[in-house]
């Protein structure tokens, strides 16, 4: 019996080659998509799972409520960690991380003290011994208990140790960071490399022991720079602890702000809340938290979106499988009838059809795995990840096997019961009116598929338009032709003569020294500003304080709307400020030029006002900005003459080599860095596009099957109509219309839904496009066009056959 089934299955597949390949390929594409998405989700959920005692480790963050807005930050004052350890017995250990680039975190030059060549490496950060203890970071060489305890000690990663100290014990050796040979670091230990799925990605921990930023910083409560982690004792209720942390605001923050005469002190308990996030949630639930290191985090909403997409695509694929199986029912009906006549019972038939669907399921999974392997590089590229199918685990092959059985069984269930229900008499008489019972289910499934398609088409169009809008929006500065040379702080005192040399090059229009560049990744800070003398009376205007030189405004192509630029000749310009329009507005300066403003420390006279320009992601509004005269030496910016970039860059590099022969020459184009800011939008766009295409293809397969089914079912009616005189056009119209009705219903469902989703998404942008009706109409037209093309294949065939075919059913 079994061999009979297998033989029949094989012959059925081989006989209807087109149909079988559509069934198997369609199913496989859906499964492959699910596999890939599952890999992504698995990876996203795996973050920081490796941390021992991870369920007891928390990172603190602060929630600010200010002028109706909510901001989050992970920065805490230096004494915060020790204070909570002392005051809360629930806490077992605390650790601090200090990731602020301004103070030396990020990318750095360094060398072994016994060598001259400098190397550029990423991943420098300040940390304390408590961090190693709290997160139980594995130390592979050196003493884990005091690797970072001594001032000016440093812990390096295994990767770095292998690279710079091959077959040597690095512990105890000296490193010179940023050419500062007077104060080298002593290597206190080597830590294991952070796994790719850790929220921390660092290579160098520089010790926070002692007073690296001055005595005052270590005791001050009004300056927040430290990320703080804590290991709780076992059985501690974290919610209750979080509630108790209000006392830290009352007992420590408030007096400190009061002592400095700050206006925020009064309401601070209603404005600032300390919260705790489990370390395992950091990767996915830190949305909206500005990470000073500029690391990219995941987004739990994205994981949900992907998860829903996976389930959706999987359902669509199963639906197709069911549609395609029942679509062939007319061919199978006779077989069923005959088998029943010669003595088969229904149970046997159900077994047979389930067996068939299991075989098809196995084929599809095999193909899906091949497809997934083939598309993995593309998918990794889209997501900027390094995922692979986990063949080496025992769970994965087992999971595949179980999935083959479950999917084959579930997808085959409906066709099996449906096909086996045919009554032999009616089948053999040819008077079976097929599928009218299940027609409505099928219609619902098609509507579901097409709603999803239209949703994705609309989403893709608007995400694309929003991206174009952002990338082409006037920014208030000219990002073309600007090159940023990075790491110029190694030039030290020579930076001015370096600038003069560059200026002499014919391809260089202007040169400016400033690392406050108007793209994400430029140096940033937060300051409060007041009109002179109002700092204890008015609430502060939150803004940025940038250090720029006399050529900055020209080099960046910004527009001075009032007043004048800084001048080297005028001594008093050292105490002057150029502000942006927003700052003038927020401070309420009606005649900004000549007025005097303060950040609480120094008082500046405003000498000029620049047009507002975007300096962070366009998702945020333009912040008030105060620019002071000086030299922030990490970056030198060049405006180049158009058309001879490569030549000019070559000469710039040779100038660089004369000044600092041992340093790597690094540069970026401003416009490229600007585009990189929108990398996540681009990524989302390409993923959306892929899913749209996939969903459309799969939905078309479903429609193809359904139209085959319906034309088959209606072949007698079509023939009768043809005999009576119906034209091709009218048959085509009749068949297409019934599908277009379904597409139209899908459209009506998809439009409000996508409108709502897109409105919400666009509202996360400060500068956004508006939703337009015509785009929705286009999307509907695309869906209709695709539907008509798919359906007309069968309709055309039906309308072109000799009408006698449909009548010869006896």
């Amino acid at each position: 019996m079994l061999s009979n089934f297998l033989k029949l299955t094989w012959r059925n597949l081989a006989k209807h080659k087109t149909h079988s390949s559509i069934t198997i390929c369609g199913f496989a594409v859906g499964i492959a998509a699910c596999l890939l998405i599952s890999l992504f989700i698995r990876d996203e959920l795996s973050y920081d799972r490796h941390t021992p005692d991870g369920e007891r480790i928390y990172r603190f963050y602060v929630e600010y409520h200010y002028q109706g807005n909510v901001y989050w930050s992970t920065s805490f004052p230096s004494p915060f960690a020790q204070t909570i350890l002392n005051e809360y017995p629930e806490i077992e250990k605390v650790g601090r991380l200090f990731p602020v680039p301004l103070f030396g975190a990020g990318d750095r030059f360094f060398r072994r003290a016994d060598q001259n060549q400098n190397f550029f490496e990423e991943g420098f950060v300040w940390a304390d011994q408590g961090l190693i203890d709290t997160l139980q970071i594995p130390i592979v060489q050196g003493d884990p208990r005091k690797a970072l305890s001594d001032p000016r000690s440093i812990v390096i990663s295994k990767k770095i140790a292998d690279k710079y100290f091959p077959s040597e014990d690095p512990v105890g050796k000296l490193l010179v960071v940023n050419n500062n040979a007077e104060q080298p670091y002593r290597i206190g230990g080597v830590m294991a490399d952070f796994p790719q799925n850790s929220h921390l990605q660092y290579n160098f921990f520089m010790s926070l022991a002692g007073t690296p930023f001055g005595q005052r910083e270590t005791t001050r409560w009004t300056q927040s720079n430290h990320n703080t982690y804590a290991l709780l004792k076992e059985g501690v209720d974290s919610v209750a602890l979080q509630e108790k942390l209000k006392n830290v605001i009352r007992n420590h923050y408030k007096p400190a702000f009061e002592a400095e005469g700050s206006v925020v002190a009064k309401d601070i308990e209603e404005m600032v809340f300390i919260k705790m996030l489990p370390v395992r949630d950091i990767h996915l639930k830190s949305v909206g938290i500005l990470e000073p290191g500029g690391q990219t985090r995941g987004d739990i909403r994205f994981v949900w979106l992907f998860g829903m997409a996976a389930v959706g695509i999987f359902l669509i694929a199963c639906v197709n499988f069911i549609n395609l199986s029942t679509a062939k029912s007319a061919n199978r009906a006779k077989e069923v009838g005959l088998r029943k006549v010669v003595g088969s019972n229904r149970a046997l038939l159900i077994q047979q059809f389930l067996g068939e669907s299991l075989i098809i399921s196995a084929f599809s999974f095999a193909l899906a795995v091949v497809m997934a392997e083939l598309f993995l590089p593309v998918f990794n590229h889209l997501l900027n990840k390094d995922l692979s199918l986990p063949w080496m685990t025992w769970q994965f092959p087992l999971l595949l096997l179980v999935a083959i059985l479950v999917v084959g069984f579930l997808a085959g269930l409906f066709p099996a019961f449906y096909l086996s229900s045919f009554k032999p008499i009616s089948v053999l008489r040819g008077s079976l009116s097929m599928g009218s019972r299940s027609g409505s289910i099928r219609s619902v499934l098609v509507v579901f598929q097409f709603s999803a398609c239209i949703l994705l088409i609309i989403g893709t169009i608007f995400v694309y338009r929003q991206q174009q809008y952002i990338l082409s929006k006037p920014l208030g500065y000219d990002r073309e032709q600007v090159v940023m040379i990075e790491g110029t702080n190694v030039l030290g005192q020579q930076i001015q003569s370096f600038k003069q040399e560059l200026r002499k090059l014919s391809g260089v229009e202007s040169v400016s020294i400033s690392d406050y560049v108007p793209i994400a990744g430029g140096t940033r800070n937060g300051n409060g500003f007041w009109k002179e003398g109002r700092s204890t009376l008015d609430p502060a205007v939150n803004g940025q304080r940038w250090i720029i030189d006399e050529d900055y405004i020209q080099t960046m192509g910004m527009r001075l709307v009032e007043g004048r630029n800084f001048s080297v000749e005028i001594q008093s310009d050292r105490q002057a400020a150029i502000i942006n329009r927003r700052m003038a507005e927020k401070l309420g300066l009606s005649n900004p030029v000549g007025s005097r403003i303060t950040n609480g420390f120094a008082v500046n006279e405003v000498i000029g006002v620049v047009e507002d320009f975007n300096f962070d992601s366009l998702t945020s509004e333009i912040f008030p900005l105060c620019m002071n005269f000086g030299y922030a030496s990490r970056i030198v910016n060049l405006r180049l003459v158009a058309g001879q970039h490569q030549q000019t860059l070559d000469s710039v590099q040779s100038v660089w080599a004369q000044f600092v022969p041992n340093q790597e020459f690094r540069y970026n184009f401003l416009d490229e860095s600007y585009a990189a800011m929108y990398e996540n939008v681009r990524r989302m766009l390409s993923i959306l596009t892929w899913f749209s295409v996939l969903a459309i293809v799969i939905a078309c397969l479903g429609l193809f099957a359904l139209s085959a089914f319906m034309t088959e079912q209606r072949s007698k009616e079509i023939s009768v109509r043809r005999v009576i005189g119906a034209s091709f056009a009218s048959i085509l119209q009749m068949l297409s219309l019934s599908f277009l009705r379904l597409v139209f219903i899908s459209f009506m469902i998809a439009v409000p839904f996508s409108w709502y989703l897109l409105e919400n998404w666009l509202n996360t942008y400060e500068y956004r496009i508006n939703l337009r009706w015509d785009v929705f109409i286009y999307a509907g037209m695309i869906a209709c066009g695709v539907a008509i093309l798919t359906v007309s294949y069968h309709a055309f065939r039906a309308a072109h056959r000799n009408p006698v075919h449909g009548l010869r059913s006896e």
Binding site: S433, K716, E717, S719, V720, R721, R722, V723, I724, G725, A726, S727, F728, S730, H800, N802, P803, V804, L807, E810
Partner: protein, 237 residues
Amino acid sequence: MIKTHNLSKIFTTEEVETTALHNINIHIQEGEFVSIMGPSGCGKSTLLNLIGLLDSPSGGEYYLLDEEVAGYTERRRAKLRKYNIGFIFQSFNLIDELTVFENAELPLLYQKISSAERKERVEEILDFLQIAHRRNHFPQQLSGGQQQRVAVARAIVGKPKIILADEPTGNLDSKNGEDVMNMLVDLNNSGTTIVMVTHSPSHADYGNRIINLFDGEVVTQSTNGGQAVADRSEVRL
């Protein structure tokens, strides 16, 4: 009106070729009532389908209304069919989703006749065939005889010159069978050419000529009851 010369039909399925009709030469005049007889599988229905332009021949010539139509595309055949030929089938072939009235109205819709005229003509035919009281019923609600009346109504509502009937009485009891035959005779008397395939010798006798087919070839043609073909056509003229 209908004339074939060496008409043949071969069915080809993958490797097997079956000759259904071989060198058929028949000539049917306007106003004739011709019965086609023969055993099962002799090619009666195939011949009727070729005559009715529902299928295309494999070889030979076919003149319908003095036009050579054997090489016509399906599009042109459909057009000829629409205005000239009405069909009646053994299994009625009504559309289950349409009512009696709508089924009968269908040919007029495809002939683009105005709604008022359609209504008038369909009502007239349904009255004539005594089925008007069931006009809003669906085919499954009718007896076989009633269904065949609807099929006849549909076949004649477009005023075709020729009616092709494929065993119209095959699924009916003798009473209903007689009724249908009488309707066909009435139609013939009012000038419509009728070609009918039948198994029943008694029903075949309603026609004025019988064509006997065997294994895809015409074996005999006999005129019936002394009604000379030429006489009838002269009467009509």
